[in-house]
Symmetry: C2
Subunit: 519 residues, 2 copies
């Protein structure tokens, strides 16, 4: 058995059985090994950012890591943006980067570069360079353990070509050690005391506690204690909809977030970082916690946050059935003009039960949260790291992880352009993904930011850098070019009709919605 076969065998033996890849010559033995270890599903992406974003989406939905396979430093570079989002989401990813054979590196061949340096950006917690085939299994297990955490993370395994092609007799390792993260009872008691203080408190939740039992418990704790329930601005995977605990997301704009946090005496963090402004703005605070508000951490990403929340719920006498649940309710299917509001209403009117929404709707999507709040239960995946170009790849990964559910990529034009090769993978794999492509012809968020940062009155030369036309992008043509059927809606009625058909049709399709910018 060669190193590549041992690696893939080890991965599949530990439930890593999907690899999103864009391989090159140095990865050919890994690719060849797919026929020897057929339990591993190789999913080809035509750009690395698709592969890494898909691994993120997969990990968020499957709760276990996918592998990636990337080609040396440039391939890793192309994957950085979506690995950054995965890092911020604490998604487990086994990020495999092929490299030259160990002895070849000294020759500084054309593709030689400092892979480790780039990897340290997205994998600060784990970068391992395998030295020989005999080490592959142990290194893979270490990478897998690191990836799963807690905290979940991107673990990078750099795989020299000769470690792949050389034979090894070391083809299995010990059981993967599980990292135990005990609940810190002192912290639970301290938070319980805060909740009983009678002062204004909010639970600020994120990560693993915005879904499943943990979310229910968070709602129950708030019901029992009168605390406010808030969640991070861009959760990795939020379970929401009718019958679930309704949780208010902190606003992206500091002005809104400040209003939401106003008057709090205590903010309790549960698997969420203390809220800060997304960007700095001249003369405005970076820290969004109001003055005089104390911040307490119940549990962080490296802890057993769901366990800590369960302990807290018990301590404060929270009863699951007391949590305030979202009542069902949908907007009417909209008619007339196609606007940001009517696009979001159409989504709310039609979103199927069990849908997974990959949300990169940005400015046009402003009204989506409200319009879908009472829709049947669904998952909402957000832009965790702010690196745009996430939405379509994450939809790919979510669809691979959950083949029985409809995935909706709610996607802005500017963001889609970074990783539109995702559509090809959706078609090649026959994934049930509906893309709603929001075409307003501009980087609308930057038009807003240009004003917000206090830039001097900007002129036509600056404004040109924020527009996506001329020439106007034709996303129907782009989707067709990638092998995906597509339609264009210019009225709300057309959108409702086309969206309904897309949601009912197996495989991928794209509905381009021509909307005016809200900015």
């Amino acid at each position: 058995m060669n190193g590549a076969q041992a690696l893939i065998r080890t991965l599949v033996d530990h439930d890593v059985d999907v690899c999103f890849m864009n391989p090159g010559t140095s990865e050919m033995h890994f690719v060849a090994a797919l026929d020897q270890v057929p339990e591993m599903r190789g999913v080809l992406a035509l750009f690395e950012g698709v592969a890494t974003g898909a691994a993120d989406g997969y990990g968020r939905m499957a709760g276990r890591p996918a592998a990636t396979l990337l080609h040396l430093g440039p391939g890793l570079g192309n994957g950085v943006a979506n690995l950054h989002n995965a890092r911020r989401a604490h998604t487990p990813v086994v990020n495999i980067v092929g490299d030259h054979a160990t002895y070849h590196k000294a020759y500084d061949a054309q593709l030689e570069s400092d892979i480790d340096a780039v990897a340290s950006n997205v994998s600060p917690g784990f970068v391992r360079r395998t030295q020989r085939a005999d080490d592959v299994v142990a290194d893979a297990l270490d990478a897998l353990t690191a990836a799963i955490g807690p905290p979940g993370q991107v673990a990078t395994l750099i795989l020299p070509a000769d470690a792949s092609w050389s034979d090894t007799t070391v083809t299995s390792g010990p059981s993967r050690p599980v990292r135990e993260a005990p609940v810190d009872v002192d912290r639970v008691e301290a938070v319980a005391k805060v909740l009983r203080s009678g002062e204004p408190v909010a639970l600020f939740v994120g990560g693993r506690v915005v879904r499943g039992d943990a979310l229910t418990r968070a709602g129950a704790v708030c019901a029992a204690t009168g605390a406010k329930l808030l969640c991070e601005t861009f959760p990795a995977r939020l379970e929401r909809g009718a019958g679930r605990v309704a949780v208010e997301r902190l606003g992206y704009l500091a002005e809104f977030a400040t209003a939401q946090l106003d008057g709090l005496a205590h903010l309790v963090l549960v698997d969420a970082a203390s809220p800060v402004s997304f960007f700095a703005y001249p003369g405005k605070a970076s820290d969004l916690v109001p003055e005089g508000c104390a911040v307490h951490e119940l549990a962080g990403p490296a802890d057993d946050a769901p366990g800590a929340l369960a302990a807290l719920a018990e301590l404060v006498g929270a009863v699951a059935g007391d949590a305030v649940l979202q009542p069902p309710g949908r907007p009417d299917a909209p008619s007339g003009e196609l606007t940001a509001q009517t696009v979001c209403a159409a989504l709310g009117a039609l979103l199927p039960e069990g849908a997974i929404v990959s949300d990169e709707g940005n400015t046009t999507g402003l009204f989506a949260a409200g319009a879908t709040a009472g829709a049947p239960p669904h998952d909402w995946l957000c832009l965790t790291g702010g690196a745009i170009g996430q939405g379509l790849p994450v939809a790919v990964g979510a669809a691979v992880a959950c083949p029985d559910r409809r995935v909706v990529a709610f996607e802005s034009d500017g963001s889609a352009l970074y990783t539109l090769q995702s559509w090809w993978t959706m078609a090649s794999e026959g994934l049930d993904v509906t893309t709603i492509l929001l075409n307003n012809g501009s980087y609308a968020v930057l038009n807003m930011e240009l004003d917000r940062v206090g830039a001097e009155a900007s002129g036509p030369r600056a404004k040109r850098m924020l527009r996506l036309d001329p020439p106007a992008l034709d996303f129907v043509a782009l989707a067709n070019g990638m092998g995906v059927p597509a339609t264009r809606a210019t009225t709300a009625d057309e959108l409702v009709d086309q969206l309904g058909r897309s949601l009912a049709t197996p495989g991928p399709s794209v509905v381009e919605a021509i909307v005016p910018s809200i900015i």
Copy 2:
């Protein structure tokens, strides 16, 4: 004046007057300043790899740097692959990466990451993090000096938002120091001795000595001494065609390169690295220099290589007029089946005088060098670093640098997919670029490599990872979607007709050539 305005003013005062950009919020003051300093031309790209590749193409053709403007770590990541190619080409690039405000970094906001680590991959020689607006001018001048070299390089300037937006009175700096690179007379004399030895010698040229007077001198030295003239496999910018010194490029495949180098007693490097195998292969040597062949370096990228060559030419009594020049000659316009051969023949038959060919033709392009050797004088830009997705962006930059010349992007399907957003920029800027899109439906080079690396008999699961269909990519639709007119050729006659029209039509257009894979 704020820091952003001071930066742009400094750049334009030193002849850096084009900035290829994909900005975000932290770069909004830079963008706003485009209206205050209108001498700077901002060129918007819809993906960072387009911006960085365009800066590479611009630098290769203009002989002076363009600037880039990228958005934090993820934006730099997306630009890494083509910055890698620029690094390998020794192209001067002032690579500006916006970052959070200095005081905001401590808050670890969503887009925070280790930009410096990623930058060190592509800018090992110069990464500067500006600390305040008062330092912007001095830092920009240092970056510019480093970028220009010699050696030319990617110099990264990390620009925090508050250094951009804060006011400064430091708005001009000293004249930019020029790095002197004297000629090493001892090395020149040693090489002259080698050339007079009577033993088999080859000049192995690259970088700045495969064009202009330097190339003529290299040819004259060979004519005077009987040395063989070879050039690096992937030169950054090769001047060739009728009436120019014909130079044989070293083959990509080690088997071919070995044959070309066979029998040499001496290899003299002139602005070129000693030849090594592109990848390692089991049981094959990485070093391509034959046993017993001595390697001598006349001058490297950090030296005055053209000056050293001029000194050598004088010392060996080389006469410019004695250099062997390429006679004119074109293939006939092909007819019948469209194949790799007939595509290349069509290019050779129609290539206009003064054209710039951005070559990412890969396997289909195998016959292009031969077919165009005697075409009217033109420039040939190669994939210097092996990071695919270079061809279209480099064509963008070359067209911006040389608005009076026709640029031909000779581009493979798989490679085009990494940076196809280039077409939008060609359209938005009205650039005279003809793309010949070579569609063979596969990563053909990997099918070849899969065999060459000695991978075990591979099966259908491996082979699927190397195919670009199903679904078939429709590049006419993709180009149209990006706002570029396109046609499809399925016969040689159609290609000749469509290529002729494209070359004669101002602005960008795409001709998709459907070809069988040669593998």
